[in-house]
Amino acid sequence: MKPEGINFVLVGVGGQGTLLASDILAELGLRLGFDVKKAEVHGMSQRGGSVTSHLRWAPHVFSPIIPAGEADILLAFEKLEAVRFIGQLKPNGLVLVNDYAIEPLSVQTGGIPYPEDEEIRRRLEQVTPNVNWVKGMNIAEALGNTRTANVVLLGALSALLDIDTGHWDAVLELRVPARHLELNRRAFQAGREAVAAVV
């Protein structure tokens, strides 16, 4: 782990569990001895709006918000949102994308098509060659609960970061309700293996 810390931007669509994922990452940073700030905007997006969360680990964090082009890691729970926020990432930063599309209403009414996968790849790779895809929804569905897709993504992220899995497990236990812990542990493991198989 780099001593200077990590800037994460998490993006998704309201209802995808983006905020729980950022809570878990915040606790993880604290556990690793960093100062942490986690910023999110609540309000007018219950289901269906863009949701973003900024998370910073550093010896001392001042600004809660990460400026454009300065995130080390972009964690996207939805493909279109990955493209929308790729400008947050620093050149050659790490992108982890859930290979999953949620069509916004504007596709139905506004006439702008949802970008093709090839277009999404092209735009992400303009910024970084380090783009990792995970079929988080499919994996979560196979485990019997699509709501765990967010934790599948965290498992995948864990395979890309050099952090002892014991720390991850401890923060899962801290933040996930006990009755859902086992399912989420399996989701985490499945995500970790999905990326490990590729890397």
Partner: protein, 618 residues
């Protein structure tokens, strides 16, 4: 041990530690979680009031009764509560009273961007302005002490980034054990503000604010961080973070109390740095006062930030929208405080992407009324809540949205002014209780022909499901007396009052068409639980499109439901895409099924029963 707390949670924690007995507030982003978190502590009384003015009056009463108390609200809530705020500024208190105003720079979830530090100055009330969660905790504790020491309410001014950013906080483990207060005060000269007494009190509060200014010179949360003398920055609130990160070498005067200001400390600081700037969000609140002291600021005069189209009244940093590192760096470059960059700004790669603005959720009970209102083409005056989203395409049904409770009064005003069209007001249940009751009394009493639709979704929705007087539950989820809207409205003098199920499109349309023919004031109550309430979620059944029957007529897309999508399958005759329903999003509200002219969307009773809804894991 440090705990990860949001600014809001930190305020609640500190209020508990300070021995606060009573908290009252009205939900409003970004303040809502303060009262929700406070309610969970033992030994406290916490409530949702119908509006912010009532909430502040309640806190005032508790503080008169010798118990520490606080009221929470968003910035515009203080507009509603301002009468109580000015009144208690005059009387002072028997025990600590803190007014939490959560401002929303950048208007993430608000209709305006007011800087409530101005309210503190206006009312001669000291104002504390935290920079992060630890600061929010510590300044909340300080606020209660100050309130008692100086016999004044204290404003704790939060902002969105402080409210909703989580960071580690060193908390206290003990709740302050305060002595039981004596009898309710009978001190007419102090607590009965008839003109004769008020005239005597005004000089008292002017003297009080002067004493507070003196105190602020040594207030521990007004601190100077000496570093290089090249640049000195006076800052407060969230802006402190940007000052530290953008100018790590600069000396900083960090003001925990932004009103009244420590004039000697500012003068001393100014005298020991070569260049002095003020770094603050929104209004030039500190800056104006420093300039009035005759202290020269770097680039204070005739300086126009790039990209502004209005006369500049603030130096260097923009007066509108929240600050962040990028804004502070860019403004500082323009002002010559940072070297210009050689590299270009990061390239924009997000052109021509479909936008994802907030929309009414799938299964939202407000959707049907807006679908009908759009069809009828009448002027609709909206209000503050999820249903403000009735303005967006394709529902496109609203003409005006102002502030809490405005819909009814505005519609009445347009009607009595003689506007030829028939005016409609739409308002939610919580907003009705908040401030529409007097406005509806006005409609009935002064007999305009306004049609009001009260969209009762059984909860305060947009702020994340808070209870209100219509839900029959308190903040602590205790059962209480549920207020029925119908008899209340009838008692105001409305004869035409009808309640319909929110999802009954035909009945809503028939009723409104009939009422539009008469010239009477009327109230339509549409009632159905918010689709995201657990009790409503248990009833979700995704509907299905029968592709043989659908011909791609697109009518169902006009209800603006995110669950109805264009499929890849084309109708062979029309060449238009057929509709398909996303089973993960659809709740089975049946609005689309009702309006489909070809019966191509199956109703709930026609859909083969799916397995029980998945248990929610996260």
């Amino acid at each position: 041990m440090k705990r990860l707390l949001s600014g809001n949670e930190a305020v609640a924690r500190a209020a508990w530690e300070a021995g606060v007995r009573v908290g009252s507030g009205y939900p409003g982003t970004p303040s809502t979680e303060i009262m929700e978190a406070f309610a969970l502590y033992p030994g406290v009384y916490a409530e949702w009031a119908p509006n912010e003015k009532v909430g502040l009056d309640v806190a005032v009463g508790a503080a008169y009764a010798g118990r520490r108390a606080f009221a929470t609200m968003k910035h515009v809530g203080l507009n509603v509560a301002s009468d109580a705020f000015f009144a208690v500024a005059m009387t002072g208190v028997e025990a600590g009273l803190v007014v939490v105003s959560a401002d929303d720079p950048s208007m993430h979830s608000s209709q305006n961007e007011q800087d409530n530090r101005q309210f503190a100055k206006f009312a001669r009330v000291p104002c504390l302005d935290p920079a992060d969660s630890q600061d929010a905790h510590d300044l909340t504790l300080a606020a209660f002490d100050l309130s008692e020491q100086f016999d004044t309410p204290v404003m704790l001014r939060m902002t969105t980034r402080v409210c909703h950013t989580s960071s580690p906080v060193e908390v206290g483990e003990q709740r302050e054990n305060l002595p039981e207060p004596g009898k309710y005060p009978r001190n007419l000269g102090k607590y009965c503000m008839i003109p004769a007494n008020a005239r005597k009190r005004h000089p008292v509060i002017e003297a009080r604010i002067a004493e507070l200014a003196q105190f602020s010179e040594t207030f521990e949360h007004n601190r100077i961080e000496w570093r290089s003398s090249d640049l000195g920055i006076i800052t407060g609130g969230a802006a402190y973070n940007y000052a530290r990160e953008v100018f790590p070498e600069a000396s900083i005067l960090k003001l925990g109390m932004v009103y009244p200001l420590p004039r000697q400390k500012i003068a001393e600081f100014a005298g020991r740095v070569d260049k002095l700037i003020v770094l603050e969000e929104l209004d030039p609140f500190i800056e104006d006062q420093v300039r009035l002291m005759g202290i020269p600021l770097h680039r204070a005069a005739d300086f126009t930030p790039a990209g502004t189209s209005y006369p500049v009244t603030k130096s260097i940093f923009p007066i509108s929208l929240e600050l962040d590192l990028a804004v502070v760096r860019a403004s500082s470059r323009t002002a010559g405080l940072l070297p210009n960059l050689d590299t270009a700004a990061p390239s924009q790669t997000n052109g021509s992407l479909p936008v994802r603005p907030p929309v009414l959720c799938p299964g939202c009970p407000h959707r049907s009324s807006f679908y009908v209102l759009h069809k009828l083409g009448v002027p609709v005056n909206g209000d503050i809540g999820c249903y403000t989203l009735g303005m967006v395409q394709p529902l496109d049904a609203l003409h005006t949205v102002g502030c809490m409770g405005a819909s009814v009064g505005v519609a009445h005003g347009a009607a009595v002014a003689g506007d030829k069209e028939r005016h409609v007001a739409v308002i939610g249940d919580s907003t009705f209780f908040h401030s529409a009751i007097p406005a509806l009394i006005n409609v009935a009493y002064n007999r305009s022909n306004v049609i009001t639709i009260i969209m009762d979704n059984r909860v305060t929705g947009m702020t994340g499901h808070q209870e209100n007087p219509g839900t029959g539950r308190t903040l602590q989820n205790q059962q209480t007396r549920e207020i029925e809207i119908e008899p209340l409205v009838r008692a105001m003098g409305f004869d035409k009052v009808l309640t319909v199920p929110s999802f009954d499109v035909a009945l809503i349309e028939k009723t409104l068409k009939e009422w539009l023919k008469s010239d009477e004031p009327a109230v339509l109550i549409t009632r159905e639980e918010c689709a995201l309430l657990p009790s409503a979620k248990a009833r979700w059944v995704p509907l299905e499109v029968v592709s043989d029957k659908c011909n791609g007529c697109t009518l169902c897309f006009r209800v603006g439901c995110p669950a109805i999508l264009k499929s890849d399958q084309m109708d062979p005759k029309t060449g238009r895409p057929l509709a398909v329903i996303d089973p993960l999003l659809c709740t089975g509200c049946e609005i689309c099924a009702q309006i489909c002219p070809r019966d191509a969307i199956l109703f709930r009773s026609q859909v083969s029963r799916k397995q029980a809804p998945q248990e929610v894991a996260s």
